[in-house]
Symmetry: D2
Subunit: 317 residues, 4 copies
Amino acid sequence: LPKNLRNLWFEECDSFYKNTRLAIKEVLYAGESSFQEILILNTFEYEKVLVLDGDFQSSEKDEYVYHEALVHPAVIAHPKPQTVLILGGGEGATLREVVKYPDIYRVVMVDIDEKVVKLCQQFLPSYSSGAFSDKRVKLLFDDARKYVSETEERFDVIISDLTEPFPDSPSYFLCTQEFYEQISHCLNENGIFVTQASRLDCLNWVIHSLISNTIKQVFKEALSYYTYVPSFGDRWSFKIASKRERVLTALTPQLIESRINQRLGAGLKFYDGITHQGMFSLSKDIREKIDSQTLVLKDANPQLLKEIYQKKLGTYL
Amino acid sequence: LPKNLRNLWFEECDSFYKNTRLAIKEVLYAGESSFQEILILNTFEYEKVLVLDGDFQSSEKDEYVYHEALVHPAVIAHPKPQTVLILGGGEGATLREVVKYPDIYRVVMVDIDEKVVKLCQQFLPSYSSGAFSDKRVKLLFDDARKYVSETEERFDVIISDLTEPFPDSPSYFLCTQEFYEQISHCLNENGIFVTQASRLDCLNWVIHSLISNTIKQVFKEALSYYTYVPSFGDRWSFKIASKRERVLTALTPQLIESRINQRLGAGLKFYDGITHQGMFSLSKDIREKIDSQTLVLKDANPQLLKEIYQKKLGTYL
Amino acid sequence: LPKNLRNLWFEECDSFYKNTRLAIKEVLYAGESSFQEILILNTFEYEKVLVLDGDFQSSEKDEYVYHEALVHPAVIAHPKPQTVLILGGGEGATLREVVKYPDIYRVVMVDIDEKVVKLCQQFLPSYSSGAFSDKRVKLLFDDARKYVSETEERFDVIISDLTEPFPDSPSYFLCTQEFYEQISHCLNENGIFVTQASRLDCLNWVIHSLISNTIKQVFKEALSYYTYVPSFGDRWSFKIASKRERVLTALTPQLIESRINQRLGAGLKFYDGITHQGMFSLSKDIREKIDSQTLVLKDANPQLLKEIYQKKLGTYL
Amino acid sequence: LPKNLRNLWFEECDSFYKNTRLAIKEVLYAGESSFQEILILNTFEYEKVLVLDGDFQSSEKDEYVYHEALVHPAVIAHPKPQTVLILGGGEGATLREVVKYPDIYRVVMVDIDEKVVKLCQQFLPSYSSGAFSDKRVKLLFDDARKYVSETEERFDVIISDLTEPFPDSPSYFLCTQEFYEQISHCLNENGIFVTQASRLDCLNWVIHSLISNTIKQVFKEALSYYTYVPSFGDRWSFKIASKRERVLTALTPQLIESRINQRLGAGLKFYDGITHQGMFSLSKDIREKIDSQTLVLKDANPQLLKEIYQKKLGTYL
């Protein structure tokens, strides 16, 4: 037998009938906060990874893909982004991407779980790269919905990096029409909203389509986009929305390139004009499935999600 | 404990340090041919799947994604496709896509493993959907390299659906410059060649980049493209090449739509103009990695692949 | 990668927190009867194995250990065994051991599941070795409790090879005091009863101790014994009971040897006088745990088992 | 999904075709010494466990079974045990059992791996229960073979708790005839030697039979015994040997009980006269297999073990 004995494994249930296993070098942290179970692992395949309530969140080796995909289309889509609100994003990597823009002078980040934020700073420092000590940043530990409904501040860009809505979980109320209306209310006139919106492929599209259809009820313009994230084993999706029309569809690769040059100087690792075009050109089967969704998530019917999951046991649970 | 006890699992080693497991309803076939071990399984997650030498090949539920992505860009790119050569593709689904075009009057398919072809016809009939009995089709059981080097026939489109090159395997000689030169020789003047070209993401790009750089030595124009295939858990890539310049880059979504309408009448499930644009718009990090490759696969240095694998143990093996 | 790819696995949940996996060569049968899910597998480690409702039952390579241990102490303990009743034992191996005795002129076997019996004859013929066609054997497909409560026949030896009692399952009523009283009623004056009695070790002793204490309420003499069965990964236990006193404790290794010689001529593979002494000499910790049990399983309180399981989640479920 | 998500697992390869998995609460230590890889885990099933080079060593919940079985038959068999040598036994539990005897005034323990000893004291304090600070104990960090060949001290009892001999490992030389002769030389006239002697069942008996036959070449009397250890999933064996004849076979349950009373006062948890009788009464199939072994392990042929393993791949590796 060789060394590197592969005796310790992290196992994630992708569904009732499928799971993925990663060999572990080291368990950096295993414990829980008031809100969730937390694992920080050093894996052979992806180096350091974060796991919350058994759900793989991100890996050191490729988190830049997810976080660039989440942040930059929204910031670039805005004509003059200066203030940003981040909901969730405890790892600090969403914040790291936002503070790259010198013209953004105020960033509010609201995450419910202080413990996750502290543990990520300690064990995954490359995620935030010092962004938490940027003077433009105000970090609040609070419930995202509560903050959004109470604040009087208005933002140019709001980025939601909240976890998946699961049945029988308060996270349902972070993807309802009422929540998105509150978000819209917190945006300035040219405001852009973006949210991660679950995995999206021809076999797993229901959650995205529900979020998508719900957001469309609230905003003038809304587009779905996606990218593959290797350590997820999934293609992850996002929904971007604008308070005004023809802002998102007007983004050509050339315009994106020119705004990146103006606003950032140096380029990014993942995102540019062609990357944007690839992410926003969904395949035909996926477009049809998203368009087929007619249900809207509302505060009044939290059981909706449960019913959908139950019909699809094996695919979603 | 509920019924559906999930006692039988298929486990695939994605790498030395990662594996994926699927619960099995039924083992439809488990045996071997002269060339490989063959499993045909009925899984809860993806229904029927084919596994060769322990490598997941495709699932009934989403094989259309891979096979449409492999076939249609090449056929559509050709100004007047009438004859097609398929190398490999034993499942019959590549053939099924090709025979959808009424103007293609001759298809030669060369697969080394008669047993796989017969088993797929028996257990996975939806894959070929009767294409093997199409009168335009000539099916040969032979080594692809041998056929290509000996035939005097010329084709408009050549589609390679051969399995991955593994170190110390004869499959190496199915991705060398010499092989691609033989393929080019079998193509008519406007000929288009396409091949599956391994998984492709920011952590697994070396095999694609080698195939890509090798093909670029032989053809006037060559492009990489990719799409996510859910049951692979991977984003899969292809390399398409043309004997003439400015054929592939000239394919706009509009031109693609118009050719699909003319040549096929009805649309496809996955592929159309926007799908094409999405697949060919690679993200920035991937483009840079592919472009960084300078090695070329040649018949004379089969040990090259082994050396590359060995350096990356854990990622590739 | 070598051949024998180990892609197919049988996974058994030993508890909520422990499982065992066996690589599979071949799935000989996967289906269900009216009573249970049935798997017959060919494994690399143990050759052919039978699995019912996800519970490993026995393997071709070592089933002789379990079946000799179940049958021979009871038959040898009886002064003149001529008639035997087998409850359960669908595999046919219990029957095979019983018909080895020429002086036993009548054997009734009652199993609820005809399908399991037929499948075992087809796929596991070495288990019954032709015993089902022995003229002394009468095979009935019926519920064991119903048969025992209704029959007017009396037997010298009754052997219970019924499956484990699980909470919320009718099998509970196959290990209650009332059932054992019915069994006692079906025994002749010198009658011996034996039953498999679950795994038994210092961490898993509750089920055995309940069966043990319940049987002690009914019979004049009752002893626990156990043996390790490699393919179970567990030490399996049995409870033997006599309608008269000082029958079981009178069995010295010498007496056992002499009865084996008289009654069987040739010896057995596993069982002899010393084997008997080893199986009946329980270790001190186990004896103390069995003796500590005061509860009795009665028809009136089926929820008892459930309560016990729930307290021990992780050990029993 | 409930809490206790069972995302972290320890997986042990029992053979090429079988493995066992335990859900982990906590990784207490994961690292390596100069000699081996070390894991100390807190598992749901067995609480704290020690793993060396991927081999499960013992669990807090049932280590008393193994350690009482290893120590007490040898000490009790000796007419007047006063000095003991322990080889290996880094966890300290073997030592804990030895120091229970007030009349033993000197114990030398020789373990090669200081790091394991220190880690066990820190993370598994219940194993040694303070025995390392007993004034009668002399702890040496040295190679067992080197110590035995060099020391001029003589002992009443020698206890070998060394790890399994694996092919191509120096551990081979800790189970050869030459080593056992050196041990015999270190024993006083009435000396007793005992060693753990691998798993032992009808499918896994070769290693035991080799150790057994080798020891028989050196000592006047030698007996095999075994007991099931739940957390091993295996029945573990031992070989006890005496420099004089009819010492071991003279141990009746009554004599054992009386010596335990005299020498220890209070009883033990696992070991007593009946336990002894159970452990030493091997089943018929096992006795025949042990007796069938004719090979002897000698310093000159270390390749012997390798050849045996290779023939049995799947059972031993």
